[in-house]
């Protein structure tokens, strides 16, 4: 198995799927000549040409809609948003076109499309460029939403997304592009809708996805040093949500902390907690706690930004509270 960055794993998935299916094409800002704002599409223009690696004007609504139209006419577009912050401009096309056309056409017109790009805060990019959009997107029936945390999952989930006959949102962690990990070569598929235990444990379940998997893993190490065995459950898919995996883990550990980059109000964690209270109520030994971004627009100042983000320390503190250690 090769060790790849998250960025190169995504690149490999795109390349393999474009080689496999001539109807797959990539469209977005700076994906071609510039090789991608985050270099995910490096080398693809050279290999596939401008017909299939399509540079667009800065017009998110327009090119997202073009992607949906191309999908209606039989292609399998991959639409790259330079970041999901800019995709807000395209929400009408994602929500009103991509997610609804199959239903409102009575099943006649499937929309096999991938919308992908970096999500979540990076470093000191301030409020408009530091947002996690998963709860917005996961709210919508007709969409699937995935948020890989590792290079292997990035490759496997992007390949699944491209082959899916539905609109799939791929949320790439903006801070994850440089992380490295082992990635199976060739046909490596991660099915949409399956969570994965990234670290087994017995005393508390840390439920997380995307960048917060890294946060939770660090927290689990610190907890281990304190004699607590934490299980790290990576959701990987947010819609559909692997409810069985959540319930299975919490039923064993009897305690849970949900960690996410988004804001607390109506967040992904709220949905996870709903699953736990409904299906693992009798197994719970403590209220479930959530660690989220602070309920504020992201500040620019480095110290304030650090305070706003979920950190291993905040996860450890929450885990100790559900264990009644503090």
């Amino acid at each position: 198995m090769a060790t790849l960055t998250y960025r190169d794993a995504l690149n490999q998935a795109l390349r393999e799927e474009m080689q496999r299916d001539p109807n797959v094409f990539l469209m977005g800002e700076e994906v071609g000549v510039y090789q991608g704002a985050y270099k995910v599409s490096r080398g693809l223009l050279e290999e596939f040409g401008p017909q299939r690696i399509v540079d667009t004007p800065i017009a998110e609504l327009g090119f997202a809609g073009m992607g949906v139209g191309a999908a209606m006419a039989g292609l399998r577009p991959v639409i790259e948003f330079m970041t999901w912050n800019f995709a807000v401009l395209a929400l009408d096309q994602i929500v009103n076109s991509a997610a609804k056309i199959l239903y409102e056409s009575g099943g006649q017109v499937p929309i096999p499309i991938v919308f992908r790009g970096p999500n979540g805060a990076a470093l000191q990019l301030a409020a408009q460029h530091s947002q996690a959009w998963e709860s917005w997107l996961s709210h919508i029936p007709g969409l699937k939403v995935v948020a890989p945390a590792t290079p292997a999952d990035a490759k496997g989930l992007l390949k699944s997304a491209i082959r899916d006959d539905n609109p799939v949102i791929v949320l790439e962690g903006e801070m994850l592009y440089n992380i490295k990990g082992e990635v199976p070569e060739g046909e490596h598929i991660v099915p949409i809708g399956q969570a994965e235990v990234k670290r087994p444990g017995n005393d508390v379940t840390l439920i997380c996805h995307s960048k917060t998997v890294t946060v939770a893993l660090k927290a689990a190490e610190q907890l281990a040093e304190q004699g607590t065995s934490a299980e790290v459950l990576d959701l990987r898919s947010l819609r559909p949500l692997d409810e069985a995996a959540i319930v299975e883990s919490v039923a064993r550990t009897n305690r849970a902390v949900v960690v996410e980059e988004g804001w607390p109000h109506c967040g992904i964690g709220a949905q996870v907690v709903d699953v736990i209270q409904r299906d693992a109520f009798d197994q719970l030994d403590a209220p479930v706690l959530r660690v989220t971004q602070a309920d504020v627009p992201m500040p620019y100042n480095k110290q304030l930004e650090r305070l706003a983000k979920p950190s291993p320390e905040r996860v450890v503190a929450a885990a100790r509270r559900v264990l009644y250690l503090d």
Binding site: G69, N96, S97, E104
Partner: protein, 332 residues
Amino acid sequence: MATATARTVSVPAPTELERRMLRQMLLIRRFEEKAAEAYALGKIGGFCHLYIGQEAVAVGSLAALRDDDYVISSYREHGQALARGVPATAVMAELFGKATGCSKGKGGSMHLFDAGRRFLGGHGIVGGHIPLAAGIGFAIRYKRGDQLCICYFGEAAVNIGAFHEALNMASVYKLPVIFCCENNRYGMGTAFERVAAVTDVVEHACSYDMAAEVVDGMDALAVYAATERAADRARSGGHPTLLEVRTYRYMGHSMSDPLHGVYRTKEEVEEQRKRDPITQLAHKLKDEGALDDAALDALDAEARAETDAAARFAEESPDPEPAELTTHVLAD
């Protein structure tokens, strides 16, 4: 190569084509009258936007296109669906929300689909479908086809960003799309000149280096001819065209609006009715000796009979099964 010039075109078309167009316009007129009736009786719910007055636009333009071309429209699309050949039964049943409707009763008046006829909706957000048309054009070019996509929208959609983004990209990528703006002068109750700095829609084509024409939308033959020219441009190298088709709707914006409202006068509507597209074409055929009163009455009787049959079919059709609630959210 911006050619934003006003032209009135009158080319002779074969009589058979003219008769067919007259027949289709009559069908749409009678269908919409029946829809208004059914709406008043509570058989049709929600929003229902009628096409009465604008028949020549759908009929004239679609007569000039091929069966393998794509059609996409806004929420005022009953006329285009019928002109495309979607059976009146399936359209009416959809308005009634029945399982036999062209969208299985799940779309309604604003979301008519018939994928087999390449009629791809029926879209309810003003201007939101214009980029979809560019995408369909992109797919045609990608597969090296010689089809095109025609996209209908009202003049109010011209103030939306989606219109400008789509026209720019259609021109940049040379996509085979006909952007057919049905300028009926009012976005709901707001006269276009009250909210648009540039009131000749056609002028917007200059910004995107796109061919364009102003067309008399009350003259089916003029619409036919302009669409034919636009289709030639699309098929011979994928050049998009913006057509500004000047038309008029006789009814309110939707069935929940009064006929004239407070935003226009009864006299204005009456004045526009003098240019009625059906009457105009019928007169032309009569003048040419190709049609007499009896033949016109027979065509109209056919249209009424087809509409009545459609309404009966819709009435007698079943509602979707409760299990249909959760089908088609995702493709299998």
